[in-house]
Symmetry: C2
Subunit: 455 residues, 2 copies
Amino acid sequence: MDWEVQKQRLDTLVASEKRSELRGALRMLNSVDIAQYLSTLDTEQMLKVFRILPTDMSSDVFSYMDDEQREKLISSIGDAEICRLVDDMFIDDAVDFLEELPNELVKRVLENVSPETRTVINRFLSYPENSAGSIMTIEMCLLPCTYTVSEAMKEIRRTGLDKETINTLYVVNEAGKLVGILALRRLITASDETLLSDIMDVSFVSVGTLEDQESVAETVRKYDLLAVPVIDKEGRPVGIITADDILDVMQQEATEDIEMMSALTPSEDAYMKTGILTLVKNRLPWLVIMLICSIFTGFIISHYEGLLTDTAIVGTIGIALTACIPMIMDTGGNCGQQSSTLVIRGLATGEIAPKDALKVLWKEARVAVLVAVVLSVVCFGIQFVIFQRELNVALTISCAMLCAVVLSKVIGGLLPLGAKALKLDPALTASPLITTIADTCSLLILFALATAVLL
Amino acid sequence: MDWEVQKQRLDTLVASEKRSELRGALRMLNSVDIAQYLSTLDTEQMLKVFRILPTDMSSDVFSYMDDEQREKLISSIGDAEICRLVDDMFIDDAVDFLEELPNELVKRVLENVSPETRTVINRFLSYPENSAGSIMTIEMCLLPCTYTVSEAMKEIRRTGLDKETINTLYVVNEAGKLVGILALRRLITASDETLLSDIMDVSFVSVGTLEDQESVAETVRKYDLLAVPVIDKEGRPVGIITADDILDVMQQEATEDIEMMSALTPSEDAYMKTGILTLVKNRLPWLVIMLICSIFTGFIISHYEGLLTDTAIVGTIGIALTACIPMIMDTGGNCGQQSSTLVIRGLATGEIAPKDALKVLWKEARVAVLVAVVLSVVCFGIQFVIFQRELNVALTISCAMLCAVVLSKVIGGLLPLGAKALKLDPALTASPLITTIADTCSLLILFALATAVLL
């Protein structure tokens, strides 16, 4: 249904105070949509609608509300309501929520939840940020390998509905170690007396609690999993991470990569919610560093002052060279950026490894020569026909272009691999860095060649 | 276990021809790992190992092999084997496989599969590329809403194991229209006589067959789904898309965005597998276009020839201005790139919409002024202290820097929104385009200001 139509219908119901009709209408909606609707209301109305929600939906809706709204809500409701809300949330959602809350509210929430929930939440808060432990959920279904299918079914009927996902069951041995996994569909199609150990899948994939979320995402993607078990150092299962959580991780990691590739410190929050000062702080350091790096290009040009301004000796060469500085710099930078982007992305998706350096070099070198030949021909045309430079000047500039393109592409291809080998983030070597390096190289080549040929 | 150790163990078993031991060892492995292992063998050995695989694993392993290997395998095995392999694959995997195969092999495969499989495959091949229909799987569990829980369980036991995922069941009415969904865990914890229509969830989310995969991915991510049903125009379910397939879509879309942001035509294949000529073809068009655009900067500089070279009038001003061309161009470009990247990413994740243009403008303008003040102070320092330019020259250059930064950031923030409003891909307005525009603006500002103040 159209979102605007839906919103208007709800608005009318809210305004007319028809509580039971409103509750009925809300029940037909998805929790994500209800949370989105609540964000359009003022605090008082939001609170009113939130309280009309059926009990089994409210903590789910609460999970999908944004931080600001949740903060408002928590400040306006009573302790008993807080306790019920947080106790009913999945642990990973509750932890996410607490991480964003101001300290005094965190204290108030933790004082009001059940002792078990508090213990689990505190354990979660101690996992390093972005580790598998910090994004997992503890709601999983563990079964001893000595159980039969019918015992397992009984156990699931008893506890199943509380689990975030029981599509996959986790089978443990006497020591509590994870020894196999079992799809729920295997279980319900097996005969009652079969032992779990006979039908479980032992070639399962798992991740450690301290593993980085990016590497967890790569594992889930590679093995096409819908959920991956998280195990502690002793091999005991402590939680699971589901594919829907991995989608958020991948989105976040892609955003981080893209931001770093544009010389931005990755931001925690969405653009619209990030304050001006944070935005400035995320952007300035690299800009200043690159501005300082441009001292080099300044020195190079100053060094060739004679070549550029002494009209007595070199006639129109000076202005011809000056006029092509932006062209040769931009082309070198663009070429380098293309190569580094492809290699950075290849490293991020695991397709390229630092040991492939020679292969990348060989590939980039061949591509570079072909690209460089075409570009220098176009460049010659521009200089000779459009700017009507003398033949030797136009030739010198397009030769410089040829060398600059090849060099930029080769450096652009190898730089990310070097960064990776030095355990730096390859994304750092993207556009602004490679552009600065390519600029400097291109200018040096241009002036060196011009001095040798034209003077 | 360590991959190298595993590989060596398998190599030894393959070399010693211990078939039953090898089969046992393979059974302990994940299909993804086996496919990876096969890729290290030559054709003859690969075929030998592939034939040793337990029958229930071979089509799964086959799904995870890469195109080249599958082609080799298909050319070497008999028609009956092909038929069994493809019939046992999930339809979406089979279609993916056929799409990459040379025409004569596709013909041979289609002649050898069962008529039902052939009909379904042909239907899939007719969906537009990257549509929901082309990535969905038809293996889903449909149940009439008039069924009771026990009838449903019986039906699932009868057909369940063939389905890629029966974690969610799809409930249809008499007309075959999707009216609700039901988690398997709800079903097995409900009492036998309950009607499905009483426990099904009616607030489900679905997508259409022709919907673009990027928008499907956004839906799955927004609603935290593990699977989403695909419905035809009449509202009848025709397939599902699971979260693991969405992970691949997201990875692919992020790569495309990143490549377009670096002025690359997105490539179909992985870097290492793309030929030299394709790489050249993906890179050249934009490089040539931007090279031609640099004619503008050349004209600007040529236009101010007098200012730059006539030493009689302006003394050292000419070389001071020339030497700061790279600095002011790079800084303007970097600033513009930062802003456009943030807005492009915001548009891609759905956080920013074209209607937010005014908010973005206001935000970027304030950030730009703060960043510009800091950068122009640093710039003044560099010019006055390091290059020892005269006070009025250093002041002019840092003023030009201030204006160039503000303008670049504002243009960088608005350009992607303009592209989106014109239904172009915002990623096109990233680094190279905004850099070219920022360069031109920066140079114009620098020379205009210098002419006004210094002459």
